[in-house]
Symmetry: C2
Subunit: 266 residues, 2 copies
DNA sequence: CGTTCCTTTGACTGCACTCAACTTCAGTGG
DNA sequence: CCACTGAAGTTGAGTGCAGTCAAAGGAACG
């Protein structure tokens, strides 16, 4: 296999670690883009409306590894947009333990599931030092009531989240361990690429444990399949450092294997 | 085990079969309640606003078994509220076959996942003769823009759907086959009870195949576990006719078995 | 009344889990 | 600097839950 190469940067800092300390003004400008990308860009808000939206966004100081953005049971007040870094959200299981619900990369929104009960039903924990924008929901709701295209954008955002969960249901209900890992890696790859980063060379900010929990697999299974993928020349793994060497082969693994775990319906 | 007792009504008609042919006026009045229960009741819309909402609701003629409400790929125009009957929604798998995403009983809304792309990504098929209200989304969006509490109600509705999907993720990721079936039965039970029907005696409108597909299990596993539950005195099964004989025991099965399939995290 | 679908049951198999040992690495303090 | 400690990851051996294959009995439907 190709020689494992150590990264110059600190492996611990993980995905997107190149964004380190950022001046407040930089963050402010960047965050304008950030709310833009999630809420405005797709619908093309007018500059004035974008300004109004940006005015209600709060820019919190950076959070660090293992900090909680919020905990299950907390009162819901705001949505959050990841500017840099990475988080995981997870729900406590009745019997103890937890179910990882998702990993959140820059540009992605957290907290949509809490609108219903005005209560956070899951917790959000920081995986690596992160900058996060806060959008007070009450003020956002005022804005959406006066900006129809923003309202529509919010509907779309919520609907998109449902669509994403749907894909996960299919993944957990019908796919083999190999397929789940392949989907996971490609999802990360695509989301990073969307942010202008390498689609084939990145750091994982989450542990094998968390990956396994997220995908409904045991840690050992994750480890074994990473090893197998490496043996097959699909990727190169060095601790948290991942290099995808054969994207087309990974994509082929997802759909056309014909080796699904569970039978088809009807 | 207890003698299997035949039901007087036609088993094929399934859940809620007692609602048969309904006069147009009855349906109209009923549907007012229907949109009320899903959209208005929890927020307490004013009578005038409720009237405005009811005005845009269309009352389609009843659909019959195997009819499609919409198909994956159809242009998205409306949300639908089940008045009577039952439907399933399912997504096509890349390799052929399908993933059942949910079963929809009276009072429940269908189509929220299509708002994002303005395209239905899943299909909805009628399981038993059903009356369904159509809510044109464009007109609904106009209304929500002028009625803040309705807007908030829509946000809540979408958020609730995300929360429901989250529960399903936990179910598929961490629960054993027995637990999945228990959750499924109790979910049906509670939803029927909410509509004023028996929580312990009902008909399934879906096949074992569809249940298994929904829960990520093989048909044979569903059948076997139904048999086992019956042997244990938890329920009485006669084809589609279900009687839950020991609700507390079923509930106990869900959380406290300590026999989960996959290990806990961290 | 034949065809087809649905359901159930049995026998067998295999994927992924569990248990366990070992290695590596990070952090801590002597 | 190095031993100690604990967390994280890897690997191997064994096992069990649920899937697959197969067959047969019923129900539904034309």
């Amino acid at each position: 296999m190709a020689a494992k190469q150590r990264a110059a940067s600190n492996p611990e800092s993980g995905v997107l670690s190149q964004h380190k300390v950022i001046s407040l003004e930089t963050l402010r400008v960047a965050c304008k883009n950030c709310s833009l990308s999630s809420l405005c860009l797709p619908m093309g808000l007018s500059p004035e409306d974008t300004e109004r939206l940006d005015d209600i966004v709060r820019h919190a100081r950076p959070l660090h590894r293992n900090d909680f953005l919020f905990r299950a049971g907390d009162r819901f007040r705001s949505l959050y947009v990841v500017k840099t870094g990475a988080l995981k959200s997870f729900a406590p299981c009745p019997e103890g333990g937890e179910q990882v619900l998702g990993f959140h990369l820059p540009g992605e929104i957290i907290g949509l599931d809490a609108i219903d009960k005005e209560l956070h039903v899951c917790s959000a924990k920081v995986l690596e030092t992160s900058a996060i924008c806060e959008i007070p929901f009450a003020r956002l709701a005022e804005l959406t009531a006066t900006i129809p295209s923003l309202q529509h954008q919010m509907f779309r955002l919520l609907s998109k989240e449902i669509g994403h969960d749907t894909e996960m249901l299919l993944l957990l209900g019908k796919k083999s361990a190999e397929e789940r890992l392949a989907v996971f890696l490609l999802s990360l790859s695509q989301r990073l690429q969307k942010r202008g980063l390498s689609a084939s060379d990145f750091y994982l900010s989450m542990s094998r444990h968390e990956i396994g929990n997220y995908l409904g697999l045991a840690v050992e299974t994750v480890s074994r399949i990473f090893t197998r993928f490496q043996e097959d020349g699909l990727m190169c793994v060095d601790r948290k450092h991942i290099q995808l060497l054969n994207l087309p082969a990974l994509e082929a693994l997802i759909g056309s294997t014909g080796q699904n775990r569970r039978q088809q319906q009807q």
